[in-house]
Symmetry: C2
Subunit: 221 residues, 2 copies
């Protein structure tokens, strides 16, 4: 059951920490395609077909997988031109939920301006699908949604107050998002996994100018 | 389908503009009980049983009903000791969705501190159900949730980031909530109905010390 219809919309899927940040980074470094899988086993089975397998469960790399969920792993030149099968706790599920949309884009702070530009060239309505954490709200995805609203504000008319709430939060947080998020539950959870460097990187706007989009179940640029 | 389980919780139902503000005001002025109805016809049928009928659809008073959705209507001494049958676009639906909770309380800025005190005397987990607008987020209910989080912050451990987001928004808004909300879609809609006086009143904390609660489908204090 969905609160919002997607069939008439461009959906921007966001999982800042760290699925969509990894995907953005991967494409910026020449990866050919990323195929998202909701289930671990389906993802792992792609190794036999020559895919690199990537992802996490509960924030940790999965046994037997080639890659985890740190964006720095996706800067490896050995991955250039390769195909990746990807599964994460929240990010790939959010992509699955967005199926049926007119267009599905991958958003992160790393490609914020490029995503904005792409939305401005389209006539479609926009829905930002924040992956959250196990179906619940998280602050970092909400901040990205707010950043997007802030950038698009002269061109959009919000359909409810959620975009306005996100925009207010972003404007409150933007000068030091790491500090702002330091009290958020999801970031606290990740901080216990010692990935502060990942968090800082994932909150840095406009590192790359790629906009991955989903076509027939496969992400490419 | 619910994102949150209610059976082990105290649920605080909130529809600041204006259902739960009206309910709080009504009990503070001696009304005996309020029976919420999801459907208009069921509500109207209660007139024959000696109930006053009250509520709105799309922000407007319903033809044939005794009372609308302005808190000032509920200050009428003629209502003292009377029973009210109540239906609104969002508020009574939020109550219906909360059925099965261990305890259901009516929250508004008007009884903020009393609701806080009631929650502090209970061992139950707390869920704030924001009625929103036709199933979607609105800012004023979110601000109330944030005010509650701010008051309870030394006593709670949030289960996800939604309470933190609400708390941040409340702290940003608290010095002038009317101004903060002036750009929110729901308030804009209500402003077109010329109820600025209602809005200002509904955003005023701690006017009353009643905490309406639901028992067997009926609200009382």
């Amino acid at each position: 059951m969905h609160l919002y219809t997607v069939h008439d919309k461009t959906v921007v899927v966001v999982d800042i920490l760290r699925a969509t940040s990894c995907m953005t980074t991967a494409f910026a470094h020449g990866i050919e395609s990323i195929t998202p899988f909701a289930k671990l086993d389906d993802c792992l089975a792609m190794q036999k077909k020559g895919y690199f397998t990537a992802g996490e469960r509960d924030g940790k790399k999965v046994d037997g997988f080639d890659l985890g969920n740190s964006p720095f792993e996706y800067m490896n030149p050995a991955l250039k031109g390769k195909k990746i099968a990807f599964t994460t706790t929240n990010g790939t599920q959010a992509i699955a939920k967005s199926e049926g949309a007119r267009e599905i884009l991958i958003g992160s702070f790393l490609n914020l301006s490029s995503v904005t530009d792409s939305l401005l060239t389209s006539e479609n309505n926009v829905l930002v699908v924040c992956a959250g954490w196990k179906g619940k709200v998280n602050l970092e995805d909400t901040l990205f949604a707010g950043a997007l609203v802030e950038k698009l504000k002269d061109h959009i008319e919000p359909d409810c107050d959620a975009p306005l709430a996100a925009q207010h939060l972003y404007n409150q947080a933007k000068n030091n998002m790491v500090k702002f998020l330091s009290e958020s539950s999801h970031v606290k959870r990740l901080a216990r996994l010692n990935i502060r460097k990942d968090i800082e990187f994932c909150l840095t706007p406009d590192q790359y100018n790629v906009v991955p989009s989903l076509q027939a179940g496969v992400l490419s640029i």
